[in-house]
């Protein structure tokens, strides 16, 4: 097997192993209901993690996504309350706004030659501040179309619900896989993650690619915001604080190298599901406290990073020999 696939294989193996352990203790974990809920509950995280994967593959980081999701929810709720626009029109408007926001951050990163960390930190403050300025209350979304979206699901055998937002998440991962692994843009992203100077020498248009990467992340954050607003039927400026770090953790658990240049979008999906599985297990168990989730996710992170380190050493040793 190609050594590049080792981290992905390890991720999938750990996920399956964890599930087997769960099922042995609670046979019901195998039911389609649990699977359906796993997809629904983690839909917004999965979508935003796809954008984060592309950013991290390019060697960057986007700290603004959690705030952008909160902004999206508030934006949708306030627009639906105060204007007569149809939700679909609001969605389109929102996606334009968040993509432009991402593109602006990408442009700043490139033109100012400043670290993405600090530029997107400013973006994080700005998006959260913009959400506060729209409203500081939780605004409920009350629209007939939202009820339709909320109730759209496919009843799987075993009465599990494959909800619309779960499907949207899976489709997003699919699109992300195609964009990252099958397009010229994706190749540029990987090249950029391998090293900016080399990428430039190879003919990658660094500025344009950087703008597109962060615009894509903004788009995903906006889509995630839409899904989150369907999931919660409200907009709240304090929502999804810290989601960016959960998304980064999911990407790392999914086997993507944080230095950029190596990884898989599909692994990110497994990373998100692994984290969701831990939470589900804790709910099933009932005696474990929620803080164990955080500790276990931290340990998983450590395990995967050490694994990647080890693999990197093995592969470079082989290449040297």
């Amino acid at each position: 097997m190609n050594p590049r696939l080792y981290p992905l294989a390890a991720t999938i193996a750990i996920f399956l192993l964890a599930w087997v352990v769960c099922v042995m203790q609670f046979p019901y974990m195998l039911s389609t209901r649990v699977v359906g809920n796993l997809l629904t509950d983690n839909a917004y995280l999965g979508i935003v993690a796809v954008g984060m994967t592309v950013v991290i593959l390019s060697g960057g980081i986007d700290l603004s996504v959690g705030s952008v999701i909160a902004f999206s929810g508030v934006f949708i709720a306030v627009m639906l309350r105060d204007s007569g626009l149809h939700p679909l029109a609001v969605f389109a408007l929102l996606l334009v706004v968040t993509s432009a926001f991402g593109a602006a951050m990408g442009w700043l990163i490139h033109t100012l030659a400043m670290p993405p960390f600090i530029v997107t930190l400013a973006g994080m403050f700005l998006a959260r501040g913009a959400a506060y300025m729209l409203t500081i209350d939780s605004v409920p979304i009350d629209h007939a179309f939202y009820d339709v979206l909320d109730d759209a699901y496919y009843l799987m055998p075993g009465k599990g619900r494959l909800t619309l937002i779960g499907v949207v998440m899976l489709l997003t991962v699919l699109v992300g896989m195609i964009v990252a692994h099958r397009t010229r843009f994706g190749a540029s992203v990987f090249a950029l993650g391998g090293g900016e100077a080399t990428a430039r020498l190879m003919g990658v248009r660094v500025g344009r690619t950087t703008v597109a990467i962060y615009a894509f992340s903004g788009l995903m954050a906006g889509l995630s915001g839409i899904v989150f607003s369907i999931y919660t039927s409200s907009g709240y400026p304090l929502a999804t604080v810290g989601t960016e770090l959960t998304a980064i953790a999911a990407v790392v658990i999914g086997g993507t190298l944080l230095t950029g240049g190596a990884g898989f979008v599909f692994g990110t999906l497994i990373g998100v599901l692994t984290m969701g599985l831990i939470q589900t297990y804790i709910v099933f168990d009932g005696t474990l406290s929620s803080w164990w989730t955080k500790i276990i996710i931290g340990l998983l992170l450590l395990a995967f990073i050490l694994l990647q380190k080890g693999l990197l050493r093995v592969t470079t040793a082989r290449a040297g020999a």
Binding site: I61, L108, T111, L112, A113, M114, P115, F117, I118, V119, L121, A122, G123, M124, F125, L126, R128, G129, A130, Y132, M133, I136, V241, L245, T246, I248, A249, V252, L258, T259, S289, S290, W291, W292, T293, K294, I295, I297, G298, L299, L301, L302, I305, L306, K309
Partner: protein, 339 residues
């Protein structure tokens, strides 16, 4: 003298902010003595700014080595929880145990960065995500409250009229700055930040130095945790130090320190922390809704980014140069007409 020149932009920003706030809130600069304590908005800023100021001292050292410490906020929560736990268990020694926990957190981060060789941002992310879980483990998910006068002193006490938290972070900043600049330590840290391999070849023990800066950051976080815990006389594992790591990094960046490592100034970082706190307090005092706080912060970061950008540096240089040439020409012209 050199230090003064280095921190001039920060001092000017601070003065401009103070003037702006005074415009909206005339009593801003007033300081009174009440019950032998200095009281006033400025003392409040010095006191409230203590956690970020303390974190910024440690963060400056970490960033000078080209690293970053995302875990300081959670380390605050852990150390606060440890302090409150040891007091409620009747062991006393809350402060000492908290400092020990801070050292352990720093050792963990430092080992991952310096020995295992993980990128600092990821290495410290591990403790950041799991740290609050650990803190909740200590407090068993509750807010541990305590009454202990010795501990409460660090939150609400005062010495010679100055609030204890302000005193603590002022002393820490001065002590660390003196240690760095009166010994070669500061220069060695800068060397590691500029090029670790080269500094190691030149005989600097980069590994030990790297671990040491993370331990220093952990210690500063422990002090900040003690202040935050003592202030509310309870340990809140969920909210203590929440997102303060970002404020601390911001303070360092406002202080004009490069995230790419190398030269650093603790005085400038501390002033950066003061600027952040002045914005926070100033917006409240001036009567603006606190919703504007984050947007103003974002604008502030943007301005600083533009000023620091390496890509724009030659533009600034060209502008200054052009101004100088114009001045010289004007002088020359004046001379000619004089003749």
């Amino acid at each position: 003298m050199i230090v003064l020149r280095r921190v001039t932009p920060q001092l000017l920003t601070l003065a401009a902010l103070a003037a702006l706030v005074t415009l909206f809130f005339p009593d801003f600069l007033r300081i009174e003595v009440v019950d032998g304590r200095l009281v006033g908005p400025i003392m409040d800023i010095l006191k409230r700014g203590a956690p970020v100021g303390l974190l910024a001292v440690g963060m400056t050292l970490v960033i000078a080595t080209r690293g970053i410490d995302l875990s300081v906020g959670t380390t605050m929560a852990i150390t606060g929880a440890v302090a409150a736990w040891s007091i409620t268990q009747g062991y006393g020694l809350g402060g000492a145990l908290a400092l020990l926990a801070g050292v352990l957190a720093g050792l963990w981060n430092g080992t991952l960065v310096a020995i295992v060789g993980i990128q600092p941002i990821v290495a410290t992310l591990i403790l950041m995500t799991s740290g609050r879980g650990i803190a909740q483990l200590v407090t068993e998910g509750r807010i541990l409250t305590f009454s202990h006068d010795g501990m409460a002193f660090f939150g609400s006490g005062a010495l010679l009229g100055i609030p204890a938290p302000a005193l603590l972070w002022g002393l820490t900043a001065v002590a660390v700055a003196l240690l760095m600049r009166r010994s070669a330590l500061g220069m060695l840290i800068e060397a590691v930040g500029v090029n670790r391999a080269a500094s190691a070849l030149a005989g600097v023990n980069a590994t030990v130095l790297l671990i040491a800066v993370y331990v220093a950051s952990g210690l500063c976080a422990a002090l900040a945790g003690i202040v935050a815990t003592a202030d509310i006389r309870g340990a809140d594992a969920n909210n203590a130090g929440l997102w303060l790591e970002l404020d601390a990094i911001l303070a360092v960046v406002i202080g004009g320190n490069s995230l790419l490592g190398g030269r650093f100034s603790i005085a400038a970082s501390v002033l950066g922390a003061l600027i952040i706190q002045t914005v926070d307090t100033g917006i409240l005092l001036a009567g603006f809704p606190s919703e504007y706080n984050l947007v103003i912060k974002a604008g502030l970061v943007l301005v600083i980014l533009v000023l620091q950008s390496p890509n724009l540096a030659h533009h600034w240089y060209a502008l200054r140069r052009a101004a100088q040439v114009r001045r010289e020409r004007a002088m020359g012209a004046a001379k000619e007409t004089g003749r």
